[in-house]
Symmetry: C2
Subunit: 195 residues, 2 copies
Amino acid sequence: MKYKVITISREYGSGGREIGRLVADRLGIDFYDWELVSRTAAESGMSEEKVKEFEESYSLLPFYDPMEPRETFSVEDRTYLTQCKVIRDMADKGPCVIVGRAAEHVLEGRDNVLTTFVYSDRERRINRVAAALNTTALEADRKISKMDRQRSHYYHHYTGNTWGDPPNYHVMLNSGLLGIEGAADAIVRITQNTG
Amino acid sequence: MKYKVITISREYGSGGREIGRLVADRLGIDFYDWELVSRTAAESGMSEEKVKEFEESYSLLPFYDPMEPRETFSVEDRTYLTQCKVIRDMADKGPCVIVGRAAEHVLEGRDNVLTTFVYSDRERRINRVAAALNTTALEADRKISKMDRQRSHYYHHYTGNTWGDPPNYHVMLNSGLLGIEGAADAIVRITQNTG
């Protein structure tokens, strides 16, 4: 296959992680989502909870360029650098699907990486989240706004780019229209591109 | 195949029309682009030039809802209604690729239609347009802005939606990263989805 690594960025509630899991299963390759957190924790000597917490606390930080040398690094930024290393190691190791963590940016410039973004209409996302969290539509709606905001801030802080902006990705898939299976199937087929 | 009709909206200079042609060739189905203009002209009794001219003159008009009854129609709006009929006839006739003309909106609600949007980075688009029109990068850049603006206005006028906005499409493809062949291949493969 032409693309060895598939990155999946996704709107909260769009089913992106489930799609990533299906793609990895169908292609028989590794799937990294939570494992990214545990490996980053292991490499940095922190707890998984702490790593998760950092991922959710970027809202107020300005854009940070990891290429720019500096005297001191915040714990968040050191965690991010460790995570970048973990992502690169995973991509070096062999074919895999990596969900989230601005992986498409970390792996930028590698020509065997297919970068995707999964999105969906608000109504389907609300239904999905409400069912998954066993909560009301209103609560689900709030949670979606909060999570999207977090991902957007995280992405901008570390990449300087806009989360969900088309130029960042090879392909953007509407899981609401394609369905979860349909979106996974589309990615599998594109990956098998031999052109 | 699951999807019988493929609509392709595209940024000017992204190679969307060429991609549509390749997809139609590979699938052995009909391809409609300019033919849409000539059929609309034939059905409305106008010249092809006049139809083309109307397509380029929507910039200043407010959103027009074809479902809303009204006493009088402008020539532009009557031409649009004729074009809608031509597009529906094409989709009824058999599998095909339709480029542009907000076809995804005209065919909304049909479940055998795959709606796509092709985009690319500005630099590649400028190079493509400059080569095709044998002009300077500056001229190509201006032409791209003008054409995108026209398409955007046309789209908004007749659909009330934002041109290039992800929710309007099943899949959005970056022809700059995928390549023209790669983007065509991706659409062909998704179309053959049997899920």
